[in-house]
Symmetry: C2
Subunit: 118 residues, 2 copies
């Protein structure tokens, strides 16, 4: 095992998963990443992620902003206009995430087909 630390509190993979391994965070990041301009308004995101409630989308965005993975730009107009985009750090997360997605696309049929409970 050499000196690798896989303790819950200090293991880096756990640090990642515990902070944006929730139901919606990566989906928000990925949606922004895949958008044409890289900038999306609240309702645009919401319409692209129809099964995410306003409440969860709002909470997820707030969390990601606190982690400095997305940037929130507010325009003082009525009705309000708020635009979200990836920060540089958010962008830097996309290659690892994309490699995970690639793996999923290659292997996940096997995984899912072997499941007892779907």
């Amino acid at each position: 095992m050499s000196d690798t630390n896989v303790n819950y509190r200090t293991c880096p993979i756990r640090q990642v998963i515990s902070r944006f391994g929730d139901k919606w965070s990566l989906l928000v990041l990925y949606t922004l990443h895949m958008s044409d301009t890289g900038v999306l308004r609240f309702n645009e995101l919401h319409h692209m992620m129809t099964d995410c409630s306003q409440k969860m989308l709002s909470a997820t965005l707030k969390n990601l902003e606190q982690l400095h993975l997305i940037h929130r730009e507010v325009y003082p107009v009525v009705p309000p206009r708020v635009e979200y985009s990836l920060t540089e750090m958010g962008k830097s997360l996309m290659p690892p995430v994309t490699s995970l997605i690639d793996w999923a696309n290659q292997h996940f049929d096997d995984v899912v087909s072997n499941e007892v409970i779907v």
Copy 2:
């Protein structure tokens, strides 16, 4: 947005996260991956992941076995001897996971230090 599908049910990243984005799965896989021999017994894993309860470790291992990401080898001896190792598919998941870990090691100080609630 072109034709990219970010719907919860069909998005690949969600398929990944929903199946082994839980509290312990990646930690188990990573622990096996980093072990000297690639094979660990139940109690060895448990001692390496002290803050994972027996119940959760057992449930996590069962889940990963059903997903064909780990192999479970039972030796008919008393007291029981059960050895866990990564399958080929499990091994194929490690490069993407490792790239995520590398990202975490490079960037996570920034992320954590910006958090309000730790």
